[in-house]
């Protein structure tokens, strides 16, 4: 009996050896990818560019990475017919396991985006490594250039681009959200646009013809039709897009001061909401968009007392008018020029008219282009502040 127990115990412990260290992957054996870029090359191949962190240069201690301005990341690329093929070629250059789990951004080159994102996202959504929370973006040039830029604040340019997106000053899209937009017929995808900006700052002293520093900058949004990039919206129009999508979380609206129109007043947005109500009578389709916004007055160039109710009213209507103009601008461009519903009007319609949606969904973009849209903005200025004219500018 005792012998039997001993043998059983022995076998039990040997099980551990049989399993080995299943799927073990030491931290020193992986190449941690910080950012991923995909380009469509001139000879019709896919080029996968990755930015790999050089852990030795991330030394927290100080002795490591102290010399030189060498970025603590390595940008390396490989080409292939598919992303996976490119990755396998990449594996021939990278002496460690390629590890996607911490990739912050997935950036597509303009050519790649025009060719269709389906060739790219399929791999990233299927495989286990990459996160669905990667910031998805399209550059106006080549994705490789974005990954090769430098950042003054973040350690790597991939992190810099990720943080920029996260600040929600522009329209931010995660890989998963892009997939959702792509799957819905009621909305066409829009993706954060980025571009490379030359700061004009010299790379190092004492060098002749010093190379110029390059940094990542947000630049509007890319407008897609299905999975193909068609056009861009600039920063101005992007604000309008955000208003219509109800995604404005921070920012300011600047309007002329009611009494002194040549001076400006800025109102910082506290909260906003957008409601899209579709109306359809079987023939005519129109939308009522209600934007509700609250803000605080934070800056005033004029010297008038804005705390009076009628001044506040005037300020609020000026603010509403400004927001409406912005929204109308973006709407005009999407409806008339690009002919794509990037605002999700189709989803709103789907929610209200389920049966009718079935007929309209396959020609939704045409229907959308013909639809009338009424934009109503209700703006409230909540705080004027206590700094009166006298305190900010001395009386003459």
């Amino acid at each position: 009996m005792r012998k039997k127990i001993a043998i059983l115990l022995l076998l039990f412990f040997l099980i551990g050896l049989l399993g080995g260290c299943w799927s073990r992957r030491e931290i020193t054996e992986v190449a941690i990818i910080m950012g991923t870029g995909v380009d469509w090359t001139a000879d019709d191949r896919i080029r996968l560019t990755v930015q790999i962190a050089k852990p030795g240069d991330f030394g927290a201690g100080g002795e490591a990475g102290a010399g030189g301005k060498e970025p603590p990341a390595w940008v390396v690329w490989a080409e292939g017919k598919t992303i996976e093929e490119a990755e396998r070629y990449l594996a021939m250059k990278v002496p460690r396991d390629i590890y996607w789990g911490h990739s912050v951004i997935l950036v597509l080159g303009e050519e790649m985006a025009k060719k269709g994102t389906g060739m790219v996202t399929n791999f990233f959504h299927r495989s286990r490594g990459p996160r669905e929370t990667m910031w998805f973006m399209v550059t106006r040039g080549e994705a490789k250039d974005i990954l090769e830029t430098h950042s003054e604040l973040a350690k790597t340019s991939a992190q810099a681009a990720g943080f920029l997106t996260r600040m929600e000053t522009s329209y931010a899209v995660q890989s998963r959200e892009f997939a959702e937009m792509l799957a819905s017929k009621g909305v066409q995808p829009v993706v954060t646009g980025v571009e490379v900006k030359e700061t004009g700052k010299a790379h190092g002293p004492g060098q002749e013809n010093p190379p110029v520093e390059k940094e990542v900058k947000l630049s509007g949004v890319a407008v897609f039709k299905e999975d193909k990039l068609i056009k861009w919206l600039d920063e101005h129009e992007t604000r309008g897009l955000l208003w219509l999508k109800g995604e404005v979380k921070k920012g300011a609206v600047t309007v002329p001061s009611p009494g002194e129109p040549e001076k400006e007043v800025s109102i910082k947005i506290r909260r906003s909401s957008t409601k899209i109500v579709p109306e359809y009578d079987g023939e005519n389709l129109w939308f009522n968009v209600m934007i509700n916004v609250e803000g605080d007055m934070v800056e005033q160039q004029s010297r008038e007392d804005l705390a009076k109710p009628e001044k506040i009213k005037a300020l609020e209507s000026a603010m509403a008018g400004e927001i409406k103009a912005r929204a109308a601008e973006a709407l005009e461009k999407a409806q008339r020029e690009y002919g794509v519903d990037i605002f999700g009007f189709g989803d709103a319609f789907h929610r209200k008219y389920k049966k009718e949606w079935r007929e309209l969904k396959n020609r939704w973009d045409e229907e959308f282009s013909r639809a009338d849209v009424n934009i109503a903005v209700e703006a409230h200025v909540r705080e004027i502040g206590l700094l009166t004219t006298r305190a900010s500018t001395p009386e003459e």
Binding site: R25, I27, T28, A53, P55, A60, G101, R131
Partner: protein, 550 residues
Amino acid sequence: MAFFSRRRKKTGPADAKPNTRDSGQGSKKQIAQSLLLSPDLDENLRFLKQSFADCSDVVFREFLFAQREQIKLALVYVDGLTNKSQLSDQVMRALSLEIPAATDNTVITKANALHYVKMRGLCIHQVKETENLQEAVEAILSGDSILLVDGHATAVINGSRGWEARSIEESQTQGVVRGPRESFVETLRTNTSLVRRKIKNKDLKIESLTLGEVTRTDIAVAYIKGIVNEDLVTEVKQRLTRIKIDGILESGYIEELIRDNPLSMFPTVGHTDRPDRVAANLLEGRVAIFVDGTPMVLTVPHFFVEAIQTPEDYYEQALFTSFVRLLRIGSLLIALTLPSLYVAIISFHQEMLPTPLLLSIAAQREAVPFPVFVEALLMEIAFEIIREAGIRLPRQVGQAISIVAALIVGQAAVQAGLVAGATIIVVALTAMASFVVYYSGSLAFRLLRFPLMFLAASFGLFGLIAGLIVIVVHMTSLRSFGVPYLAPIGPLVPGDLKDSIVRAPWWAMIKRPHLVGQNNPVREASGMRPKPPQTTAQKGGDADAGRRQN
């Protein structure tokens, strides 16, 4: 003086053979039990000297009675176990020099000498007579002295115990900031007196027995009648009397001999050197087992949650105590799982770390030559070595050694790139966390850390969780004197949660812990929550009325 219960045998003169002693050379041990003293002092002394042959610490002192020199007396005691000044002042001097003359002119003769000695001569509080030689021998060995009077077959046992003992000091193992400082010592009577001073109640029963065939160690079982479950006392006593062993040198012997699940790593018998903890345990309906020769008193039944409870918890504010208890739970979990969690995440689940943390750890690990499991294991073992050395090494070299250990393990290993800084942090935090709960409470976790690390290194978090499940299943199966070890959490006893991982204020803990105190559940009046007095001032608005009422 009442420790003879097991061996005491009322042997009347009728059933003893008067002549056994004269031929008593053979199997002395068996015969001695029924041996009686002889009226002849010399014969008694001869027998005792024979019994204590080669015992150089036994003193035989013969002297003469003060006024009647024909009456011989003898004092027998063990040198070092008795209070010598008491013996010489209150026995020798009193009897050989100062015994006063009887006021009624009674002449002291051989026949009434014993009566005089006992009633007038001896200035000792505890005096007892015996006719049994064996009882006299045991009395001598326990530190009492016996006085033999010529012509009387009776020995007077003087309660003159007094030996070198450590004084009552501050508790070394369970110190507190607020609360009594005293701790138990090695003397059983001192220990029981410390508890008696806290519980001045006739219902505090302290029963005695002797264990250890050779050491004859005194054991005391304490409980409060009316609160304790009588079945529990019976069970404790039954388990104690089962013990047949040559010696008991520490309460740990008894703990291992009476505990449930003898092979489990988790302590199902509690121990403490704090009188207030023992008193609190008794008040909740537990039983305490005192062992002579050790300051550690056992308490049963013992729950797992007691590992995170300290006496101070009941003296400090309830809210703060609850916070500290949660902290201790957290520390226990850290002590148990942190190294394995670290190994699992670093070698399997890097995606669980925030990116900057991952990069920082990766940077540290870049130059380290070993896999993280080997590294963590080496450091854990190194720390256990330092800890063990810290306990054993002589005080004088302690500081030097700990500096060297800290420098080598901490500084040099990291600088040489042999160990990552993060590993040092994990090991150090684990070590500190294991000291947050009291020493013996964390022993199981210190040990279980290693198998968990193996599991984590082979199967990642999956292995770690599997290991934790096995541990929890095992703990759930444990019983301590019939009470589930994980109570009041598993099984859930809602009322007892008031004093488990949090503590309710005293006015809210109206009932004793259900599983030990159900015999007498209510420990305090309800509705004692302090509140402003209901005065007429509040009703009528007259401030003075309120003051008068108070």
